[in-house]
Every structure is written in C-alpha cells, then in structure tokens.
Amino acid sequence: MIEVDIESLGVRGLNERFHRLPPDTNERAWKLTNPKGAHALAVGLDRPLTIEIDGHVGYYCGGMNKQAEITINGHAGPGLAENIMSGVVRVKGNASQSAAASGRGGLVVIEGDASSRCGISMKGVNIVVGGSVGHMSAFMAQAGHLVVCGDAGSHLGDSIYEAVIYVGGDVASLGSDCIEKPMTEKHRAKLKRILAAAGVSASPERFRRFGSARQLYNFKVDHAAQY
C-alpha cells in the first residue's frame, strides 16, 4: 500500500505519477490522504489500480477512469467519474450533481445520496445509489443502468434514450418521454446482479422500472409540446 499526502505532492504531481506507471506495474494499491476538496483527483487513469481516498473530494474525481477501482471515504463534488470508461468508482458519502455524467462503462456506486443530474447523458455506465437522487437525473440517458435505492427527484429520465432506471422509493415526477415499465423476473435478476456487483444490499422486489416511451425518436408535430 503506497500512501500519498495529496496536499504535499499536489494534484498534478499525483496524476502524473499515476499516468507514468507501466501497464504491468506492481504499484497497485494506493491510499491518498488530505484531499480537502481538491479537484480532478485520479483522473484519466488507465491501470488496474486500487485507490482509497480518505476525505472529501472536489469536482471530477475519477473522471474518464479506465480499469482503476477508486473508493472515496467521504463526499464527492460535481462530475464524479464523469465519462468513466471502465473500472469502479465508489463514494461512501454523498455525491454532488452530474455524478457519472456521460459515463460509457464501468460501475459508479454512491452509498449516500446523489444530487441533481445523476447519470446525465450516461452512455453505458451502471450507477447504483444507496440513497436518493436529485432532479433531472438520467437526463438524456442513452445506455446503461441507473439504480436508485431511495427516492428520485423531479423530471426523472427526461429525454431518455435506451438507458434503464430502477427506483426503490418514490419518484417525484417523470421527465419527457420517460414512463414506468413492467418489472419481470428477467429485470429483477438483472437488478440483483447489478446490486451485487455494487455491494449494495436491497431487495429487487420493491423496485420499479422506468425507461423511454420512444415517442421522441422521430419528430412528430403532435409531440411538439414535449420539446
């Protein structure tokens, strides 16, 4: 386990150090201390590292992540793991807005609450939120799964494409073209697998499924008001 004090090395020094690791590096386990809300921590990684960050992080922690497993023992600022390609980013506390924005793969786990726009523009990432998500979550969500164990704020899944949303609690309101869909055994099995991968315990039975009504895929005059 390599320990690094972020305050001493600096964000730039730290990221450079990660980026310079050879593909077959054996320096794989890291513990980072004193993040103090710093931005762009552990971004653009492309190594099978395991990183623990002790404290709260600022914007874009784990942005564009590939392969690495990053755990934040604290809260995360906006844009957590934005555009994640693969690997896992986990937050023990809460995440600010736009968590996992445009994420294309991998897994993002927020054990607390996520704020507004969780999963905005997601393109294949799986997101599991132990608590609740704020308004406009899964806005323009194209692919992947958003699993919310708690409640979802207003306008959930507005303008959604093919991403699938599972919500365990209440949904304040649904966005344009987002509708509730039936939960079958197949869906519950899928949900169970995602929850297990995230290490979040919840019973699939109480979840509801939401997705695209697909009415906005080709413009029709009668739907003009939804735009």
């Binding site: 990221n15 906006p78 924005a101 905005i120």
Partner: protein, 453 residues
C-alpha cells in the same frame, strides 16, 4: 426531431414578371413559400450550411496597398511568412502550423468518412490541422491528419480519453456561429449503424442533443473543467474554447479567465450540418464585428497574441484570411469553404440535386443525408462519388491558393509576415463595415461610434 424538409423555390427573376405585377417587399416569394410550407408541415425548417442572407462582411473592407509612404515586398523572392503557433500559454506541446488556416470541427456523421479523410490529407500536406466534431474521432481521420484537434461538446457523443490523448489539441465547444445556444443535430437517415455505434444511439433515430455541457455551467466551473482536461492529458495539449459570436467581448474575456490557451470565435455565417433555419439566420453577430470585439477583449487583458484567436464563419478566400489577420486574429478556420472545395454544390449529378428540389449553387440540404456529391452523406453509394485522393488535392489546392492570395495582399502592404498586417492597413467601403470593424470609412478618418470626421 423533424423529418428533412423540402426547399422553398428560388425567387423568380424579373423576367418572370413581365406584366409588372406589384411585388411585396415584406412578403416576397421566398417568404410566401416558407409560410405555406409551415402551414403544411407544422414544424420549423431545418437545413445545413450557414446564414445565407447578405451581411456586412470582409467584402466591405479593402487594403491600403503600398504607394509612396509605404513600400511593397517583391513577390516570391522576398519572404512573407505564414506560420503560427497555437497554445503557447500553458501547454507543454504547443501546435506549430505552417499556414494560419485550419479546418473547423465537422462531425463524422454529418460528413462522410471520405470527406473527413480528404480534409485530413489536405491539411497534413499543407501543415495545418483538422478538428473532430460532435460524435468523436474516427481512425481514418487520425490516420490522415497529422495535427488533429479533439472537440469536447455538450453531447459528449463518442467522447473517449484515449482518443483525446492521441490528438494534438483539445477544443471545448461552448457554441458555434450557426446556432449559438443550440446543441448538435443529426437526422435519422444519417444515424447509420456506424454513426449510431460511435454515439451510443439507436440506429435511424433523430438525434436530440443537449445545448449545455453535462458537468459544468459557467466560466467559473469551466475553469475547473479545463483543469481536469489538462490533468487527464498531463498538461501537454493546448486547450481551445470555441464560442458562437454573440456577446463576444464578455465571452473571450471569460475564456481567458477560465484558462484557455486559444479562443475560437465563429460568426453567424458559420455553417452546420443541420439546424433550424430560424437559428441560423437570426442568432449571432457577423464575423466582421466579432473579430474586432474578440481582439479588443484580448488587448484589454493584455493577452493578445498570448492567448491565440482563431476566427471562423464565412472565410472564403485569401482576402478574408488577410483581413481577419489584419484585424488581429492569429488564424482562421474554414468549414463551408472546405466542403465546397471538396465538391459541395459542384455541378455534377444534377438529377440528384433536382430530386432534393434544389440546384448546384443553391443546395443546403446536408441534413437530408442525400448529398449528391458524397460529402455530407452516410449512404455508401453517394459517398463513393467522393474520391478521397482527388478531393484532398482539391482542398490542398484551395488552401494553397488562399495562402498565396493572403501573401500577395500582405506583400503589397509591405509585410514580411502575415501577422504584421494591422487594422491601419484597412479601410471600409460602407458605414456598417467601418463601425463593425473599427476601421475608417475610405477617404475619411471616420469610424462610426468613435468620433473623428
């Protein structure tokens, strides 16, 4: 998203009104046809390219060539250098361009793969850059272009850090001249398997796009985003910020404060693959005042030439290049003009233009995906009409011509480098152009809005 729509017919020539019926200036045939189309279809008109209406432009400026008080340079023998460096502010590896003309961002999806390849090859031969577009980078484009700028757009379609790292610069797109405040648009016919795969969309749907970035809003958060992009790429690459020309002075100042290495300002003449006609014609200011305002903003921050300014939107010839540089731009970018060099609106396959209810010289139907000359299509049969080698040659020739033209004008003004052109080398032919460019009306000392006579 609306289906592709037909054009309005061209206004009839005077010969078509031999009996002298009274014309209606507020409701000419083009406007009448558009109202009738709207009444039929119930949806806004969508098209490609940029503002078609007449605007104050570089055509309204002229150069004051050498005479007795100034001496010209001999053509060919006496050097007029054309190189420019972009990204000297923060990047470890600034970009060196041999000519101050780059190829603007145009998406694969909007353009065919052959078109992107041809542009890349031409740019590489001329020692300049091309730019990806909304949808991400293709391998053909990376292979054919030696200097590739990677766009980061509100949609983040196809956004890939590996691709970003393989490019030479990054361009954060806030907006473009054709539709400042609008997002990307690609209609169903062009969302083919390949395009859909890159963008993670269902095949054949009309692509809806975000107009704001998903993970930041405002220059204060843009600063943090730019810092993240630098961290991902180890501070190597110049980062540009691109805006459509509206509140140019504020936007350029804010781009500088957010940490940009270069600012790209796209005037209302700037083109698009598809957007609402109302957006194209009624939002944004022309390129002419945009250049001046951008340069003033940089000068006020003492950042002129330290943060480079790239200007686009209706750049058509070497005269435009020279004038943009004289007003203070570091380089220009071409989009529509490059497509025309490829073959856009070439008088070939006339029956296919007719099927689109248009004709060569009038076509703006990029949004249909039925481009008769294979430039803005995803249909392999149509794309095959564009031979990348021949097309690359055409674009290379065109770029060469523009550079020679610009050098000719610069030498005539006694400049050994295009960058030594200044606003004082210019005069304006109209009052609007004088006011917009901040250049005196020819034969007077008068710059409207700034006193003098």
């Amino acid at each position: 998203m609306p289906r592709s729509t037909k054009t309005t017919p061209a206004a009839p020539s005077p010969a078509a009104n031999p009996r002298g019926h009274r014309e209606h200036a507020s409701f000419p045939p083009v406007v009448v046809a558009e109202i009738q189309r709207a009444a039929r279809e119930g949806i806004y008109d969508i098209r490609g390219l940029g503002a078609k209406r007449r605007l104050p432009s570089f055509d309204d400026l002229i150069f004051l060539g050498a005479s007795i008080s100034r001496y010209p340079l001999e053509g060919y023998r006496e050097r007029c250098a054309t190189n420019v460096t972009i990204g000297s502010r923060f990047a470890k590896k600034p970009i060196e361009l041999k000519i101050p003309i780059t190829i603007a961002g145009m998406s694969f999806g909007s353009l065919s793969a052959n078109a992107k390849e041809a542009l890349g090859r031409a740019a590489s031969e001329m020692g300049t850059s091309t730019t990806t577009g909304d949808g991400g980078m293709t391998e053909e484009e990376r292979r054919s272009s030696t200097t590739l700028v990677y766009q980061v757009l509100p949609s983040r379609y196809g956004h890939d850090p590996d691709h970003m790292r393989r490019c030479e610069a990054i361009e954060v797109v806030v907006g473009q001249g054709a539709k400042p405040g609008g997002g990307g648009m690609l209609l169903g016919l062009k969302v083919t398997e390949r395009v859909a795969g890159m963008r993670t969309l269902p095949v054949g749907i009309d692509q809806r796009s975000a107009c704001r970035h998903p993970d930041w809003t405002g220059p204060d958060d843009l600063e943090i985003k730019i810092a993240e992009l630098r961290e991902v790429t180890d501070w190597e690459k110049p980062i540009y910020v691109k805006v459509g020309a509206t509140r140019v002075k504020y936007d350029v100042a804010l781009a500088v404060k957010s940490g940009a290495d270069a600012v790209v300002v796209d005037g209302m003449q700037g083109g698009t693959g598809a957007t609402q006609e109302v957006f194209i014609e009624h939002v944004g200011i022309p390129t002419l005042p945009a250049v001046r305002q951008a340069v003033e903003a940089l000068q006020e921050l003492d950042m002129h030439r330290k943060v480079q300014l790239i200007v686009s939107g209706g750049i058509r010839n070497g005269a435009d290049v020279a004038k943009a540089l004289a007003l203070g731009a570091d380089a220009v970018s071409i989009g529509t003009a490059a497509l025309i060099a490829l073959n856009c609106n070439a008088p070939l396959f006339l029956e296919d233009y007719a099927k689109l209810e248009t004709a060569p010289g009038y076509c703006h139907h990029c949004q249909t995906g039925r481009c008769p000359v294979g430039v803005t299509t995803q249909d392999p049969k149509l794309e095959a009409r564009l031979d990348p080698s021949l097309a690359a040659q055409r674009v290379r020739n065109y770029l060469s011509t523009m550079v020679l033209e610009a050098q000719t004008l610069a030498r005539a003004c006694g400049k050994s480098h295009l960058h030594n052109l200044e606003p004082e080398d210019l005069a304006a032919l109209t009052i609007e152009a004088a006011a917009m460019a901040g250049v005196p009306l020819a034969g007077t000392d008068w710059i409207p809005g700034r006193g003098g006579a």
